[in-house]
């Protein structure tokens, strides 16, 4: 199991497009993916789960991955947060 703390940099939070990008990216990996935020834990491959976090700009969360490609997945997903989900914001 690997994990990393990340922060939402997108100005309008983890809104529809970033949530969708996150789920899309996570689904490409075999590893299980969970997001922990304020004591909640959701399946990161579930769009409804991610949306219920309603993460706003500056929100901090922990990405937890477990599986055969966990390292690779973790770095891809943390990059996504850094790049503001390639939304051009």
């Amino acid at each position: 199991m690997v994990s990393a703390k990340v922060k939402v940099l997108n100005e309008s939070g983890l809104h529809a497009r970033p949530s969708s990008e996150l789920v899309k990216a996570a689904s490409k990996f075999k590893s299980e993916f969970f997001i922990k935020m304020y004591g909640y834990k959701v399946n990161g491959k579930s769009i409804l789960g991610v949306m219920t976090l309603a993460a706003e700009c500056g929100a901090e969360m922990e990405l937890i991955l477990e599986g055969p490609d966990e390292e690779e997945a973790l770095s891809a997903l943390t990059d996504l947060f850094k790049n503001k989900f390639n939304t051009g914001e």
Partner: protein, 572 residues
């Protein structure tokens, strides 16, 4: 008799245009789903029903995903497709059927409702706005599970009334060729609205039509520009709206014809119509409107959205703009904030429009300025001869000299790093403060072109704050003093062989565009949606007539006379 009385209700205008026809009341929204249980042996069949329903709905959504070329709409549908594929939803529904022996439809209903309640409880705007999309996925799934997917009994030209319309239904409706849509709920960013706008269907939202016991077949009129809905219109109302609708369509059709024509007057005099652009999403709109290049690229949004005014992000944004405009020029206006768009460390000013903004702020914030110049210069290397820099809010020539020092600094840096840039990159000044128009000679030696920003020029000439509603009637860009300053600018610049363009809203009025042409300004930039109307008027008239118009407009000191002259050119 009473039920045939005309009733007028008003909602929020959401997509422009007039719809006239019979009402088609759409019964959407799910009736209650009962918590019915099935026998042990039935559960496998229920799970299968759920799987088949999901496949069918998924197919529907994937089909519409490729239809409208609109990023907001496809974002919504993408989210809905992901909802259908959601692994948690899948396992929760299966468990509800297998362990609790509920029917597929109740399992779907209750699993989705739990999520919907959680989403509503977040009280975060964007989340709450998406709830309606999740509800429509739920309802589509339940409908599909019931194996009696609704046939639409809507005919061509009918005006559809509904509480809400799921996107799949909306796309089907647009294929039928409906005359308009009225919905009870919805926000301006909801899929019905976005699709209506991109598909050209008049749309009114937040209209409580259900209070009027509206029946399908009743005659109705909706106005997507004002938000008005008339049920049982009188003969007179029908005539009036019919005429307005026809006029609108005729005007549009006529103007459309000209988009592919050469940009020249009836006597063969050329002109250039370019677009004012701010968002990457607008690019798709340029081509169909026959736009030649970008006459004003606003950079406030891209800079506000990049952290520390990041150079690479800007390079990407500018490159996209150049990439999608063929061989035409793109005029990038430097960051024009301050005033109404306050940035972080600016203090609240008592007179922001006369305050620290445009070039005044840029010269104080060197890092911001240098980053932007560096991004523009870097892009210019790849698109030589096409990138132009426009400086906002200039009021004295010293500001231009100081800016040029910064340009040199960047050039030296780029040479040092062996980075390619356009050595002949053009630098222009916005003419929006009267002092520039009045002393243009002083600027002429230092710049390559001038661009007139008519909104601010009007504001500063007439001393009217254009944001102040109490005096908004005093704000009129057609005031004789503004025309005189435009003429002055053109004459002085011509003496130095420098080109002048207009990039203010004024150019989007066909009659004003004709007058600007008459003055001698042939390079006009405006919002892309106005271009075909302006082009139609310019193509159909001779330069001589435009010269006469300009002469008349410049000959008077009376605002009402200016309007009279221009009125005769206004498109009927």
């Amino acid at each position: 008799m009473k039920s045939n009385q005309p009733k007028i209700l008003s909602g929020k205008p959401a997509a422009s245009g007039i719809g006239i026809g019979r009402a088609a009341v759409l019964d959407t929204g799910t009736k209650s789903v009962m918590p019915e249980k099935v026998g042990e042996k039935e559960t496998a069949h229920q799970i299968e029903k759920f799987e088949i329903a999901r496949e069918n709905v998924l197919k529907d959504y994937q089909q519409i995903k490729i239809l409208p070329d609109n990023s907001d709409a496809s974002d919504i549908i993408e989210t809905q497709i992901q909802t259908l594929k959601d692994p948690e939803v899948d396992s929760l529904v299966r468990r509800k059927i297998r362990d609790e022996r509920y029917t597929a439809e109740y399992a779907i209903f209750s699993v989705f409702n739990e999520y919907i309640q959680m989403l509503e409880a977040t009280k975060v705007n964007w989340v709450n706005e998406r709830v309606v999309d999740i509800v429509s996925v739920r309802d589509a799934l339940i409908e599909a599970t019931r194996e009696r997917r609704k046939k639409l009994h809507v005919k061509r030209g009918e005006v559809v009334f509904a509480k809400e319309i799921p996107p799949t239904v909306m796309v089907k409706l647009s294929h039928i060729g409906i005359g308009g849509v009225v919905i009870e709920k919805g926000g301006l960013t909801s899929h019905v609205v976005i699709l209506s706008q991109s598909l050209g269907i008049p749309c009114v939202i937040n209209a409580h039509w259900d209070r009027y016991k509206l029946q399908s077949g009743t005659s109705v009129i909706i106005d997507g520009t004002t938000g008005q809905v008339i049920i049982n219109p009188t003969w007179k109302q029908s005539q009036e709206y019919e005429k307005r609708k026809n006029d609108e369509e005729l005007r549009f059709q006529k103007a459309r014809k000209w988009t592919k024509e050469k940009s020249e007057t009836s006597c063969g005099h050329p002109f250039s119509l370019r677009a004012n652009v701010e968002f990457a999403e607008e690019i798709a709109n340029l081509e169909p409107n026959g736009v030649k290049g970008i006459g004003l690229l606003r950079t406030e949004t891209v800079l506000f959205e990049t952290e520390d005014f990041n150079v690479d992000d800007q390079v990407t944004f500018y490159s996209n703009m150049l990439e999608s405009t063929g061989n035409e020029p793109v005029t990038i206006r430097l960051f024009d904030a301050g005033g109404d768009k306050v940035i972080e460390d600016s203090e609240v000013e008592s007179n922001p429009f006369l305050g620290w903004r445009g070039i005044r702020m840029l010269l104080d914030k060197k890092k911001l300025l240098r980053n932007q110049l560096e991004a523009i210069y870097r892009v210019s290397g790849k698109y030589k001869g096409r990138v132009r820099i426009l400086v906002p809010m200039v009021s004295r020539v010293e500001e231009v000299l100081e800016l040029k020092e910064q340009c040199e600094y960047i050039e030296n840096e780029l040479i040092h790093n062996k980075t390619n840039y356009d050595e002949h990159i053009q630098l222009g000044v916005m003419v929006e403060v009267p002092s520039v128009a009045l002393t243009l000679d002083a600027f002429a030696r230092h710049v390559d072109f001038f661009s007139i920003g008519t909104n601010d020029l009007t504001q500063y000439t007439l001393a009217v704050d254009r944001g102040n509603e109490r005096i908004s009637a005093l704000f009129d860009s057609f005031h004789p003093s503004v025309w005189k300053l435009i003429k002055m600018t053109y004459d002085a610049a011509s003496k130095h062989n420098l080109p002048v363009s207009v990039c203010g809203e004024m150019a989007s009025y066909p009659e004003a565009a004709a007058c600007l042409m008459g003055i001698g300004i042939q390079d006009l930039s405006m919002n892309a949606g106005s271009i075909h109307m302006v082009k139609a008027v310019l193509c159909q008239n001779s330069l001589e007539d435009m010269n006469d118009l300009a002469k008349n407009v410049l000959s008077t000191n009376s605002l009402s006379e200016v309007h009279d002259f221009l009125n005769s050119w206004r498109t009927p």
